[in-house]
Symmetry: C2
Subunit: 226 residues, 2 copies
């Protein structure tokens, strides 16, 4: 069993299993929503696709953001703290980085799982149980390296006990350099300010037992189930 | 002044200054050759281009390798230990990763410098003196993350005192995780075995005062001068 880390979606390598990591916030929000009772999450890259699906699917709710601001006319934003209770069967979510990264991983890997600090223990246990080669794919920020995702990737690698690529070794060294997850997430330099409460929420470790996985496509959306 | 690190050539971002890093071995071999007395190094991606230039340019020597083995018919290999004394005016070198990375950097940056551990102090001083935004571009291995280049990038960043991107912070954390350069270079997992003596040679820090820079193109080759 070999573990590799792609620090950006473009570096995604072939492997039996991919774990997509977008700590702030898609892969934190999705396990939170599934754990709360949503049956599935449909991830859309485009706002218009999400709006259309909302009209087509009964019992759905649409959430999303651009630059951390809720999209006009959407039912909710994309903060995991908005999904503590289920308000629908299907959550439609528009996350540019996350969806793109999930689809990139699906091109190269048979199984696509979603990981964050919230489900750290569960996702590592799932990958260990499969015993197959894994690539942890960081969503990053607009295609570039993001420290929070690299940190989480390193935490996952550290729990696998697998043979490591150069990037997997580096991710583990980065993760080991921070006293705790909250400190690591606060060290990031990119993106808009104002996410302090979400950062605190997403810094909690192994509080959710769910491992979201890609089930297939629903039109232009990636369908994620627990 | 802002410092960024591209862990692979594809991540190269725009900046006033690029420092290309290919520790094993192109950006160690080139400053060594220039310090020894070669006037210039012409970097070719293709073996046939190097052969042709060797025939066209009087007083030239051609070196290169594929998978760490000297190319058939070439005068020398690509080990920095082969360039302790000048044997010609022009060294023609065929290094796939290195040349590709230099050209990628030239597309996005006004100034392209070459850095390694051998010229660590000199290249950092040059970048500090310019005071402009810099991206350290790791050549990596076949497009992927390489621990030796990331280590060297982190060492360079640590000497700049610049504002750092997420990737620059991560590179510095990786560099700070190793007791010394030799240990870091031995930790890499990619590539062919058998480079032990070159690894030891390339682990020496700030022993060369030269900062190689891209002067322009000579046909398909990147012309590097001190």
């Amino acid at each position: 069993m070999r573990a590799h880390v792609a620090f950006t979606p473009d570096e995604t390598a072939s492997a039996a299993v991919a774990v997509v990591v977008d700590v702030l916030r898609a892969t934190s929000t999705i396990p939170q929503a599934l754990a709360a009772g949503y049956r599935r999450v449909l991830c859309c890259a485009e706002i218009e696709e999400a709006r259309r699906l909302r009209g087509e699917i009964e019992g759905s709710l649409v959430g999303g953001e651009r630059d951390a601001v809720r999209i006009d006319g959407f039912d909710v934003g994309a903060s995991p703290r908005e999904f503590l209770e289920p308000r629908a069967d299907t959550l439609i979510l528009s996350t540019t980085n996350g969806t793109r990264t999930i689809l990139r991983a699906a091109e190269r890997c048979q199984v696509v799982l979603l990981g964050s600090l919230l489900n750290l223990g569960a996702v590592a246990e799932e990958v260990r149980g499969r015993g197959e080669d894994v690539v942890v794919v960081c969503a990053g920020f607009k295609g570039a390296f993001a420290l929070d995702d690299a940190y989480c990737a390193g935490r996952i690698v550290a729990l696998l006990g697998a043979e490591r690529s150069d990037a997997a070794i580096a991710a583990e060294l980065v993760a080991g350099s921070f006293a705790d997850a909250h400190t690591a997430l606060l060290a990031r330099t990119y993106g808009p300010p104002g996410l302090e409460e979400d950062i605190l929420f997403c810094s909690r470790e192994s509080v959710l037992p769910v491992v979201p996985r890609l089930a297939g496509m629903v039109g232009p959306a990636a369908e994620i189930i627990a």
